[in-house]
Amino acid sequence: MASRSVSPGGALLRASRMFSMPAPLPPPAQDAAQATFRSHSDTATTAYPTHQVITTFSHARKEGDWGLKRPLPLRSTTKSSTPMLRIKAIDTIEQITDYASGADHGLSLLKFQELGLPIVTPPPRGAEHRAEAAVGIRSVFEDDIDCTDVAPKDRPKLVDRRWRFSGPWLAGMSPGDFKKYLAEKVRPRRHEFRAFLMTKIVRDLNEARRERALNRGETWDESDEITAETVPGEIVSEFLRGVRQQNATLFKLVGEFLDLAPLKRPSELDITSLANSFRYQADVAHDTRNPYAENGPPSTHPSAGLSYIRTNGYMDNHPVYGPQKERKPVEARVLKPRTNQNYYAKLGIAGFVSETLSGDNIHNQKSAKSPLRQFDPDLKGGAKIYVHPSLASVDSAGKLLILVRDFVDPEAELVARELIGDGEGLFGQQQRQPVEEELSQETLRRKYSQKVSQGAEDYGISFGKVDN
């Protein structure tokens, strides 16, 4: 294509921030919980941002210049120490720029990148809360599972390595969605599927004939091959009738045709699979090695562009104490302690919600004094504990899951506290706020029933007791 000459104005616009903002993503997929009567909020921070977050220089910000169509009001954009905005609309019918603060996702990203965690394939289902979650998972940037550029003809061969599929993941579809998918996308393609099967059958037949001819010692020519036109159509129907009982072959064919994401055989811990294990062994000939078969393929690149670190096998170097055995632990907020209802305490690390591990570790001890067991309203700034985050993974819904280690090295914690100058907290105690007197009707009445002025005493004049 010949390069078109662009006017200077056009060149300016193309290079401007306004034109370089990508289109907003569709909002995060709603949970199944949204179909029930459980509470939900529109203003809660979403699992991932949908709009580009922009920033600007300080000298431009104080004039309201964010590189957009008009300067933005100063009162709402200059007061924050984090100049981050998300622009919902550059220009609206009311001739304003619709913007909101983007610091929630912007700062979370910066905080996460400070942790320096590698992003890995999701842990096996059922093991997310166990220390064995790290078994068998690898960095998402490994060459054999990071296949981005795949030619259409190579797709079926690389089904064990790909993470992007144009068809859905059947195990993650709700029944209604599945029925809709069948009716809208699958049913109209029946003839196409028969033609696809015909080409496969013809190729297999030709292979068989060639083998036989070569075994007999005859020559085989291209002209000896049969083509789809010469073969009667009933062959496809016969083949389908025969393959109807063989789930594995059927899924392979249908999956190739519709480009479905691979499914994993249910694990052996499933009771129904134990009962039908005889049948399963007969049916499932090929178990995929795709790391995303168990929990579903991601909708973006598995790393979601959050971190490009490939390993956590590096050491921290302290300026005074030298190389450290453990990496720096991070202060995590205890969002919800363990109760009878929730078995795992919810921790907030770098703005992402994570959970403690199960098993015999320091997080699960029964001592009542731990902030993971009970809520203490007197703690200044809320309950916080130090944890060692180890790995991160992005699930198929786009949520970032941070895996936390089940112990905290006390030395590493002390060193971390010293680094931030937390001298008072050196012995593991969080500062407590002075207990304020409870405000109740009684206390208020008592407070205000006292006379405002005591008389002479208020003026510093005290007479002796008068004996009368």
Binding site: Q30, A32, Q34, A35, T36, F37, R38, S39, H40, S41, D42, T43, A44, T45, T46, A47, Y48, A103, D104, H105, L107, S108, E128, S174, P175, G176, D177, F178, K179, K180, L335, K336, P337, T339, N340, K346, G348, G351, F352, V353, S354, E355, A368, R373, Q374, F375, P377, G382, D395, A397, K399, L400, L401
Partner: protein, 217 residues
């Protein structure tokens, strides 16, 4: 005297705590057990002889004022000292639950939160029951009319008074709302479902779910 032989081992037991306060050697069996000054009940000249096992054990628990065994049984006093800790634990648990009610958001692993999400204004939005945002019948892919005999489903879309719920409470789209209402009318018309309250079996089951005592197979 048999009681004397009982006392001596106890006195030996008691000895180590006095090790640092007295200069006597640790192995001299002292017949004078550590007594407190405000002991009004025991007036005997030799305290060891009048001390009962009960009072000695009380000392071990640190309850020296309860020396009179007749006044309070040993069992209740030891239990009260032991249950003191349990009581405290229960109190703390209750306090935790009361405070956690103010932040009812059900945090899921992978959620992102900002300081705004922890504010009381945002926390209030997560309280209480809300109308669903998505159509549950579409999600399940069922036909409500075929489920007129499914009492849990019929009762779910009914108010506790037996009235059919409005679509703003069910979250169903108009087609499904009409089908669901028709299924409810059909069940009530056939006489297989009550018309003024939810199905009693469903209420019983829900009651168990609420107390967490479901014993399912």
């Amino acid at each position: 005297m048999s009681t004397k032989s009982l006392f001596r081992p106890l006195s030996l037991l008691r000895q180590p705590t006095r090790l640092y306060s007295s200069s006597s050697s640790p192995f001299t069996p002292s017949l004078t057990l550590p007594t407190t000054n405000n002991r009004s009940q025991s007036q005997s000249p030799s305290p060891s002889q009048s001390r009962s096992p009960t009072s000695a054990l009380h000392e071990l628990f640190g309850k020296s004022e309860l020396s009179d065994p007749s006044k309070e049984s040993f069992l209740s006093s030891s239990l009260s000292s032991l249950t003191g800790a349990a009581e405290e634990g229960l109190k703390q648990q209750h306090r935790t639950e009361m405070y956690l009610r103010k932040h009812p958001r059900n945090w899921r692993a992978g959620d992102v939160y900002a300081p705004h999400d922890l504010s009381p204004a945002e926390a209030k939005k997560w309280r209480g029951v809300k109308a669903p945002k998505r159509d549950v019948i579409d999600m399940l892919g069922v036909n409500p009319l075929d489920n007129y005999r499914n009492f849990s489903m019929i009762s779910e879309f009914m108010t506790p008074m037996g009235r059919i719920m409005h679509s703003k409470d069910t979250g169903l789209r108009p087609v499904n709302q009409r089908k669901m209402a028709k299924a409810i009318r059909r069940a009530i018309g056939l006489g297989i479902h009550p018309s003024v309250h939810r199905h009693p079996e469903v209420m019983k089951m829900r009651g168990r779910i609420n107390t967490g005592m479901t014993g399912g197979f």
